[in-house]
Every structure is written in structure tokens, then in C-alpha cells.
Symmetry: D2
Subunit: 229 residues, 4 copies
């Protein structure tokens, strides 16, 4: 699967078997006892955090999920190219790799593991004119008769003790609220037979280096929030 | 319905009955003979143009459509407010009025009329840091066995003579390609059992004043593109 | 001088001798009869237009002029590089080539020719987070006793018939007023013993391709504003 | 003087006499023993820090100084208005209050006190499309025969022990380097008979709340950098 999506042989096939997926909110116990952690991608972090409570609790169908993501430009990397040129990105939005972004199998793989359901979602990333931040708008179909309180309970149970997850009630998640922090802000709402989950992170912190520090803190037995709050 | 969504009585209930919906690509003949045209909203223009070929040709299900829209800030109006303050919008993206934006019934009403199907879509607008432009990412479920060529044919038949619709093949629609023009750029792709349509306009031109000029040209018997190309 | 500033031999030393400097407001007659026009740089255009009335009329000292310019990023060229990377330019301003930008000798040379004074100004360009546009803030020392009306008269005489110069009275020049146009907006004010001139152009139009079209129109005997208004 | 520039009576005329000007790099000793500190404005902070070493050491003329400042939009305040509307500020730069900004007398007053010279500078602020940050480009005339080493020495002596002043040698100050910090970055260069000083701060930190915390730390006998590094 790695070769299919990354068009290259993996350089450490042994390591990949031992590595634990470094999403502390879901794999904290395994991270604690691991000596090799693979830090999640920026899109998977927010998407998996937004969907885990719903899938684990069988509140939504696992085969009818759409993720529409809006990313700042640092997500496209440091390498100068036409894609990262200021005048190509400023005053512009565009989708890319529709249905074929290499973060898709990473998301499906982890969510399948988390839920024991066969998860296959549709993922569409967009480049938007900001330095940093990702806002994910997630659309999922509810099992018949689901009430908003079941969703609230699912999120509450999953995240009530998490230092870096904030469930927002009166304010939808905004990029400006999470930039320069390790927080993942999440809100949800029912519209007819669907739940819409919005999750939001700083792609460079919770979506990259901040989460790596969080994982390191766990692995080394430090307080998990050291250096991050 | 107007009162429900706009929280106000309509000021010209007689007029509204006579008014023709001013989307030339769909109602040109009726606009030609009308003396009162109601100019479409910015979100409805791109959404209706993106979905009409698929609904008219019964290629997609009418009850399983999601529209995720990204709008520049001029869409929020000229009135100064906390919402339009530079520091609230710059380096920020947020969704608003999820499932409750007042353009939703306008879109459903017209698409229902166009297709003779009961269309009820889920519409989520987002404010994004650009002066102008709207990119709509539209997700719809395909009837079983649909091939990409059927979709191509549907768009081609509907728009091949349209001066302001550009079907993009090798480049997904981008805000920077339509800004300051009356064009609506459209592209589509199949991913598994869904079609993803991306449509893009300048909300101030094709989504407002440009379309009004286009309608005026039609009503007065001018060449439709006068002042717009 | 070319070799000193551009670190390369000029490729057409014969041509450079015959070429007329393509600033129509100043060299229109010579452009009309020329077969080779060198199109001015973006910084020189706004700076020379802002200073010519004052130097020609000996209202300011020619050896005490400061030009502080703020340019959009398209001025840095299309080539992708660290300098043009979105994340390097967005939410950032910096000066560059302080006192050593290669447009300096171009400006001094033309202003010396225009005024028959030995002009040597201090030029400091800055990169600012916009796609296009240049705002020049010009500081010059007034000859003792100069009144604002002398300055008004100088600008009026020089530009009253110019189709692309707008002298602003109640609104200081703004990048947003000239973007996508061939206009150069100019305002001026006296503060104690100095005059401050602000000139503003779109670096890609009046500072590049638009001015080239204007020159072409003059050379070919067309109406000068064809294609530009 | 307060009434002339602020068009209002000062509300605490007794307090203003006792207040110490809260620029720690210059008035640290007096702040330490004061019970009332007036926190400097955002423009004065960077300007005064950039000029103090030169004026105190009589390296420049005190009557021939130009300050050209570029400010992010948070400098215009939180109040929604046409001036702070996203679409007025994005893709736009303009000067305002040329020679008449109310920070001018504050700057002149403090620099006069610091140098015992009669300082009267020309100050031109500009609004630029960033959330935060101020870059000041300062032009001053050198006393005849001044060498770059005298300038280096003056800055070194004045600031070598300052925790929040960074003298940049190989990189001109950039807004992106100081945003979200309490640093003031400074660089200088001689061009002919002038010195150009560039100073750069975050207007909301070193130009406002950060400096207030720095002052509080000094007044209360805390380590000066607590909460700021």
C-alpha cells in the first residue's frame, strides 16, 4: 500500500511494522510503551480526531463519509515551486488531488482499526491563502433515529480528559483559535440525516511538530503537555 | 418560505410571482420576454450551474447532495462589523450557518424546478481570506453504473454554446482564473460511487453585477456578452 | 554604468544608444518618432512621475530626495524561490537592496536629464504582501519660501492633459485604486520644509505591460488610450 | 500639547506629571522606582529605539530625520469601520495622517529628552495588509565624516545588555521575525551622507501588552523577561 500511494519503496520495512501511530488521544497506551512512533500527517490528525467518537460508537455509516479540507500553504512544504509562489496562492483557492491524496489510505487505515468497520472515505483537500492551519468539514450519514445527545456523549466520553481537544459549543472552530497551539477544536451539528463535524488544527503544531513533542513527552514519561501549553 | 428564511415580509409579493429567475444558462428564453428578473445570489449561481446537467439527466440522486462553499469576504457585505474586520478574517477560515444559510431554499427551489425531482441538498458556506471569489465543491451520489462519458455529455449538451461557462479538463477551477470576469469555471470527476463537481465564480460579477448586466443584455436584445468580455 | 549595476554586458550596445525612454508623459514626442523604445522599470515609473514637476520647476533641492517604495510580490518575478514563497511573504514586510537597487541609476539618469540638475536620490524598496501594486512615498526638501500653490501649479502644468495621471486632492493614493489600471495616482503635501509626494501604480500595468501598450499606441499613431481604459 | 493632538482634555493631569515613560531600554532606572508608568505607543517604541543611540551620541543631525512606518491592521484598533474592513485593507497600502499623526509629538518629546537636542522629525505611517507588526524605515543625515564603526559602537553600547533588542547583521529586520515576540530587531546602513535604520516590532507585544508586562516586571522586581521569552 505504501508503494502504491508514495511511488517509492519504504526505506524501513521492518521499522514500519513496529511503529505505533502517534495519535495520543487514541493510542496513548501503546505510545507509552513504544520505542518507535510514526507521527501522523496533518490532514489525518484532524480528520481521525473528528470521526473516531462517531465510528467507535457506530453512530454513523462507515461507507458514506466525505471530508472537505482547507489547508494553509505551509502544508505544501518549504520547497519553492510554482505551487507555493505567493502570486499563485494569494487571492486564490483550489482543490487538488481530488480523491487521490496520499493521506487518504492513512486515514482509512486508522479509522478502520479504531472502529473495526471497513472505513473508506472521500477526501478532498484545498489550498487556501493562509500561512498555517487546517479546517476540516466532515459530512457523515447518521444511523436512523440518532439524537444529538448521543453524539455529544460520544465526543464527551472520548475526549473529556484530553488536554488538547476542545469541544466547541457556541463558536464553530476557527483557524485563528488554534494557530500557534497544539489544540484540535471540534464542533458538530445534525442537519437532517447527516452529522457535520468541523475539526481544526494548526498543521505545523498538532499536525506535525507539536504532536511529535506530545508523543515524546508520553514516551519519556514526562507530563504530556510540557512545552505545549 | 421567504418569511421563514429572511425573517421579514417580502416587500413586493406581486412582483415575486412575475419575476423570472435570472440564470441565463437555464432560463434564457423566459428572461428574454420578461420585464422583471430576480438576479440570483452568489452561492446559488455556482451551485445551480454545477448541478443542473447532472440532475436534468438523472445521473445523480437528488436527495444526497452536499455543497461545501468557500467564499471571499466581499460576500459578507460592505457593512463594517466584527465579522468583516481585517484581523478577524485574515489568516482564518470558518464555516457559518451550517445547514441554515438562506441561499439553501433558493438553490433547492430552482434545482427542483429544473429537474422535476425533489432536490434537498446540504449547503455549508465558509468565509475564506480573499477579497472576492467563490469555489464550490459539490459531492453527489451517482446512479449505479454511471460512466464519466455520460457526465461529460451532460455538461457538454447543457453548456456547449454558453459564452460564460468554461468546462475545465486539465486544470481544476481556481478562484484566480475567474476573478474580475463573468465566467463560471466547472470541472468534474468520479471517485467510486460519487461525482465531485467543482464550480467557481467571482461572487461580485457572475454572482452579482455581471450576471445582472448579462440579464439586461438579454432583456434588451443586446448581444449577451456586451460589457462582459 | 549598465555593467556596474546589472553585472553583465549589455547585449545590444548599439540599440541602447538609439532607444528612447518610454515614459510617455515626459518623452511623448521622441517616442512618436522612435523605432526602439525601452520600457521603464516599475519603480522608476512612479518615482519619476512623482518628481518631474518639482525638479523641472526647481521647487526642490536635487540632492536631498528620499524614495521609500512598497511593492507587491509580482515585482519579485515569476521565478519560484525562497523569496517568492507564500509563507515568506505573507504577514511580512522587509526592505531589500537598501541604497543599491539597480533601478536607482535609471531614476537618477532620467531625472537628471529632465531637470538639468544633478539628481542623486536615496531609494529603498520594500516587499509587501500584495499580488501587485507599488506605493512610493517621496520626501524632498523645498526651496525656502515655497508655497503649496507653486507645487499645485507645477503638477497641473505637467499633467493636466495626461490621460493616465490622476492628481488626488481629497484621497491619498491607494494601491486598490490603481490595480488593474494604467493610472498613476499622485498626491502631495507640505510638512514644514519638505514636500511629501505619494505616487501609486500597478507595477504590472503602468509599471510594465500597460505602459508598453501605451508606447506602442504612440509609435503606431493609434489613440494613446486604446486597450487601456 | 495633549489637547492639541488628542482633541480632548487629559483625564488625569496630575498623573501625567508623575508618570514615567515606560521604555525600559532608556528609562529602566526610573521605571524601577515609579508607581505609575505610561506605556509607549506602537510607532514611538520602534522609532525611539532606532534613533536613541544615534542622537545620544550626536552622530546625526536632530532636525533632518524622516520616519516611514508600515503597520499591520491591528494598529488601527478593534473597532469595526470602513478603515478596518477586510476588503479595504487586503491587497492595498496607503499612507495616512502624513505629518500629523498624534504619535509624532510623543516621539519628538522623548528623543529631545534623551539627546538634549531639539528633535523634530517627519513621521509618515502606512496601513499594510498584515494582522500585526510594524517596520520603521528611518532616514537621518550623518555628521560629516561619520564611519560605520561609530554607529556600530553606539548601538552596541546602548543595547548590548538588552534582552529584547537584537541588532541584525546579515539579515535586515523582517516583520515575520518579531511577530508574537517582545523583540525589537534593528539594522543600519550608511548610504552616502545618510544612515538608514530599520527597526521592527510586533505592535501588539513590544508595541503594547508585552512592553507593559516588561514594565510591570521591572516595577515589581521580577526578572524582566518573565512571561516574555
Amino acid at each position: 500500500m505504501y508503494e502504491k500511494w508514495y511511488k517509492a519503496e519504504h526505506k524501513d520495512p521492518d521499522g514500519i511494522k513496529k511503529a505505533v501511530y502517534g495519535l495520543p488521544e487514541i493510542f496513548r497506551d501503546r505510545i507509552k510503551s513504544s520505542s518507535l512512533v510514526s507521527n501522523p500527517g496533518c490532514y489525518p490528525t484532524g480528520t481521525i480526531l473528528g470521526l473516531t467518537p462517531l465510528l467507535k460508537n457506530k453512530i454513523i455509516f462507515s461507507d458514506d463519509i466525505i471530508v472537505d479540507s482547507k489547508s494553509g500553504i505551509s502544508g505544501a512544504g518549504k520547497e519553492p515551486s510554482e505551487i507555493t509562489h505567493y502570486c499563485e496562492r494569494n487571492e486564490n483557492i483550489e482543490a487538488y488531488k481530488v480523491g487521490s491524496h496520499r493521506h487518504t489510505p492513512e486515514i482509512n487505515h486508522i479509522l478502520t482499526k479504531v472502529s473495526s468497520l471497513n472505513v473508506s472515505l472521500l477526501f478532498t483537500p484545498h489550498l487556501t491563502p493562509m500561512n498555517r492551519g487546517i479546517l476540516n468539514t466532515i459530512y457523515a450519514k447518521l444511523k436512523s433515529g440518532t439524537k444529538i445527545n448521543q453524539i455529544k456523549d460520544a465526543f464527551h466520553e472520548t475526549y473529556c480528559n484530553e488536554p488538547f481537544i476542545r469541544i466547541r459549543q457556541n463558536q464553530l472552530p476557527r483557524v485563528m483559535d488554534v494557530v500557534n497551539t497544539n489544540f484540535c477544536d471540534i464542533a458538530f451539528n445534525i442537519v437532517e440525516n447527516r452529522v457535520i463535524v468541523i475539526s481544526c488544527i494548526d498543521n505545523l503544531i498538532k499536525g506535525a511538530a507539536g504532536q511529535a513533542v506530545q508523543n515524546m513527552n508520553i514516551m519519556l514519561g514526562f507530563n504530556e503537555t510540557v512545552g505545549l501549553l
